[in-house]
């Protein structure tokens, strides 16, 4: 796949994204950067079809990595430095998601006061999280990213 798109000197590659999710991830991260390459519906041995996003001079914050995990729990992240894969990791969910999800309960204090949201991961597959404040249990299909 390296030949398909130009190589980064420094930046981040997010690989093995389910094709239907690729543009959600791009929305989350890609938009704000100058050099972004998005490939989608590429052949993949493991997944059949996959998406890949490459962003120059960009390294993920913890919150960004957590958001991507919520969208594409099996994606691989490669940190590229000086043209080489410096570090490669599989995404994983932390037990507490901070500042990643907006609570869907309109009566939740986090919708009224300035406060970073926090959700406990109750179950990973299918994903269930509980608001640390109002204690509402939210299922994967109801999750709203902040």
């Amino acid at each position: 796949m390296k030949t398909l798109v130009h190589n980064l000197e420094n930046g981040t590659v997010i690989d093995h994204i389910p094709p239907e999710i690729t543009f959600h991830v791009w929305n989350l991260l890609g938009k704000q950067h100058d050099v972004v390459v998005v490939g989608n519906h590429l052949p993949s041995k493991r997944m059949g079809k996959k998406g890949i996003i490459k962003i120059a001079n960009k390294f993920l914050s913890e919150a960004e990595a957590n958001k991507i995990t919520l969208l594409a729990p099996h994606a691989t992240v490669s940190v590229i430095k000086e043209g080489k894969v410096f570090h490669k990791y599989k995404l994983s969910l932390p037990s507490l998601l901070k500042g990643v999800i907006t609570c869907i309960n309109p009566n939740c204090i986090t919708r009224h006061e300035q406060r970073e949201t926090a959700f406990k991961v109750i179950q990973e597959n299918p994903l269930k999280v509980r608001c640390l404040y109002c204690e509402l249990l939210i299922h994967s299909q109801e999750i709203v990213l902040s």
Binding site: N107, C108, I109, T110, E113, L132, Y133, C134
Partner: protein
């Protein structure tokens, strides 16, 4: 070693079975002895952003019985919230005036937020439709006192199970005690999916019913709740269910003699006054149990030595 000093009491989800038992035991001590000076010199701030009668009065009384004093306000109109102050700023101010805070607030999760901000312990006196842990603790205490135990009882919770916050946290708490649970409500006011899922995950057996008659012979505790009129989006819906369950003496002819009828109060029409003189009626005793429970919670979070 269980040590509550400096801890917050925010949600039944935070308390282990051992911690609950420890609080109930401390409440028992509070009934046996007076402890006039236990909290001498301590100040409790009671912040009631939403109206309350029992919770506020019983916290005031409990604090005073232990030699402490109270400051506070009883509705948001008299607090600086009306001037647009955030909860954050109110707490940063109040924490400097007191040794502990009791708070009731209309927003869900407000107590957790206050606890994160405050350097003194925060006790949740009700956060929106979420939690009211001292109510649940006094419910458990009443069950324990009237039945001699909590485990293995058949507890039926009746009424507005959709909006009733006390019903939710009682069910959560009883899931730690290996009880048999029955939920009785009109179809439109059933126990929320969230609570049922939680019980299923913990392997707790529960059944749902639309009437009391059939199961009453098997029940040890009948916990009746008020239909929460103020939480209904449509008043016509309230009219349809307001008379769904009216408990009166004939219903109890097949009940166990040891059955106890509980209610968090205030009642509207769901328990007739005929019931008050029966041996089943335990709701006024239950309200009274708010005192030893709140004394226990105050003494524990303030680190008093009994």
């Amino acid at each position: 070693m269980i040590n509550f000093k400096g801890k917050n009491i925010i949600s039944m989800h935070d308390l282990s079975k051992q911690e609950i038992i420890h609080i109930l035991k401390t409440a028992e001590c509070m009934e046996k002895k007076k402890y006039y000076d236990l909290l001498k010199g301590k100040i409790l701030a009671t912040l009631f952003f939403e109206p309350s009668t029992r919770t506020k009065l019983s916290f005031h009384s409990a604090m005073k019985q232990l030699g402490g004093s109270t400051i506070g306000f009883s509705d948001a109109q008299t607090s600086s919230t009306t001037k647009g102050e955030s909860l954050h700023d109110t707490i940063r101010m109040v924490e400097q005036y007191c040794d502990a805070i009791v708070m009731r607030h209309p927003l869900d999760g407000s107590a957790r937020l206050a606890a994160e901000i405050a350097s003194v312990p925060v006790i949740n006196g009700g956060d929106g439709k979420n939690q009211h842990p001292t109510q649940t603790l006094l419910d458990l205490y009443t069950i324990k006192k009237t039945q001699g135990k909590i485990s293995k009882l058949h507890v039926a919770i009746l009424g507005d199970l959709k909006y009733g916050r006390t019903a939710h946290s009682l069910a959560t708490a009883l899931s730690l005690f290996d009880c048999k649970l029955s939920f009785i409500s009109p179809p439109s006011l059933r126990m929320p999916r969230q609570i049922c899922d939680e019980l299923t995950e913990k392997n707790i057996h529960f059944t749902e019913h639309e009437s009391v008659e059939k199961i009453i012979p098997d029940i040890d505790i009948l916990y009746s709740t008020r239909i929460q009129r103020e939480r209904f989006p449509d008043p016509r819906e309230y009219e349809m269910v307001k008379n769904a369950f009216i408990l009166d003496t004939p219903l109890f002819k097949n009940a166990k003699p040891t059955l106890k009828l509980l209610h968090p109060l205030p009642r509207v029409n769901e328990i007739t006054t005929n019931m008050d003189a029966t041996p089943y009626a335990s709701y006024f005793e239950q309200a009274g149990n708010g005192i030893p429970i709140r004394k226990a919670v105050l003494a524990l979070v303030l680190g008093a030595k009994l």
